[in-house]
């Protein structure tokens, strides 16, 4: 009887992840009650989750937040250049603003020193032109929007070739690229 349920191995994982539809979950439970072998497989997979959750968790260093705040302040002064990858940070826009930013940055650097040295102050100093330089035009929000613009090569390289064939179509990659290019184009307005 349970053989008619035809449980796929992946469904055992889906069961653990709460990803099965209720009717399918009921079928799987019935199959588990009948097939000790299947139940043993599931138990083995479940032990993996227990082991992962038991892995030691790192402590957040006390100064990590402070370091972050310093970087945020620095990023503001550089005008949208963030992280270790300045080449991906909207070169056109920052170039256009560079003269203004240089002047503002000099003044802001002094303020930054004050901000960093004053523990109670959490507000980074942002001058109007900088903020404008950083703001991107309204853009469809969502996780995609938070990504850095990336080259096609980066996107493709970032994907396991095994998965690429299965789930990635050229169209998807291209539409993703379009979405990433969009803020650039909009930024010129």
């Amino acid at each position: 009887m349970s053989s008619s349920h035809d449980i796929q191995p992946e469904e055992l994982s889906a069961f653990l992840d709460g990803a099965l539809a209720p009717t399918r979950e009921a079928q799987l439970r019935a199959a588990l009650a009948e097939l000790p072998e299947l139940a043993a497989q599931l138990a083995a997979l479940s032990r993996v989750d227990d082991a992962l959750r038991a892995l030691s968790a790192p402590e957040v260093p006390a100064d990590l937040h402070q370091r972050l705040r310093a970087r945020i302040a620095a990023a503001h002064h550089e005008g949208a250049a963030v992280g270790r990858a300045p080449r991906r940070c909207a070169p056109d826009r920052s170039r256009r603003w560079r003269p203004a930013l240089m002047a503002v940055a000099a003044a802001a650097a002094v303020l930054a020193g004050l901000v960093v040295l004053t523990p109670s102050s959490q507000q980074p100093e942002v001058s109007a032109p900088q903020q404008m330089a950083q703001e991107q035009a309204p853009h469809p929000a969502g996780p995609q929007a938070a990504r850095e613009p990336a080259s096609l090569a980066e996107i493709v390289e970032g994907t396991d070739p095994g998965e690429l064939s299965e789930d990635w179509s050229t169209i998807e990659v291209l539409s993703l690229l379009e979405a990433m290019d969009d803020p650039e184009a909009a930024g010129s307005g």
Partner: protein, 212 residues
Amino acid sequence: LDERVDHPVEEDVRLMLAFREGDEAAFDALFGRWAGRLLRFLERMVGDRAVAEELVQETFLRVHRARKRYTPTARFSTWLFTIAENAARNELRRPFRRARHQSVDEERAGAPREIPSGEPATDAVAHARVLQTRVAAALEALPERQRAALWLCAVEGLAYAEAAQALVTSEKSVKALVHRARVALAKQVPGVHSTSVPAARGTSRARKGLAR
């Protein structure tokens, strides 16, 4: 069991919306709520504490920068892990990655090589350490995407759809990645025969409710 219990979804959204409107303290609060879990995820992804700390900062920098574009269409955690996963992927793709400082588990879980003789390490403790180290090593040996998918679903409790968003792939692919990863790790976790059926983490309906 479910770690989301102490992380009310609405509170994250409330904080993020407040931050979007310029409340920097809300950003700090979000950092306080999520830095630990991000660090744990990123450390597992890149295998190096110092680099993981960098990436936690980078993730929050991007949150800071993208605040105006945030809309509460997805759970905050999905958004956050999407950014973090992206940062980890970029790090792993760098042509000349920084040399690893120290393995996470050599330092923390205590390498199995030797347990200091003065320590009252019972067999159970020693066994747990050996197991931890083996699991951690097996996790690290997984292909990057399998590792990320498994961690996000099994430990962080993301739904397949959410993990798919974070990994820029389909739910079907996430399902396959998670299962392959579990099967690979299962070989490293010795079986203690148990006949009871492990609890599923909640029905899909319950999870949909949480995802609101």
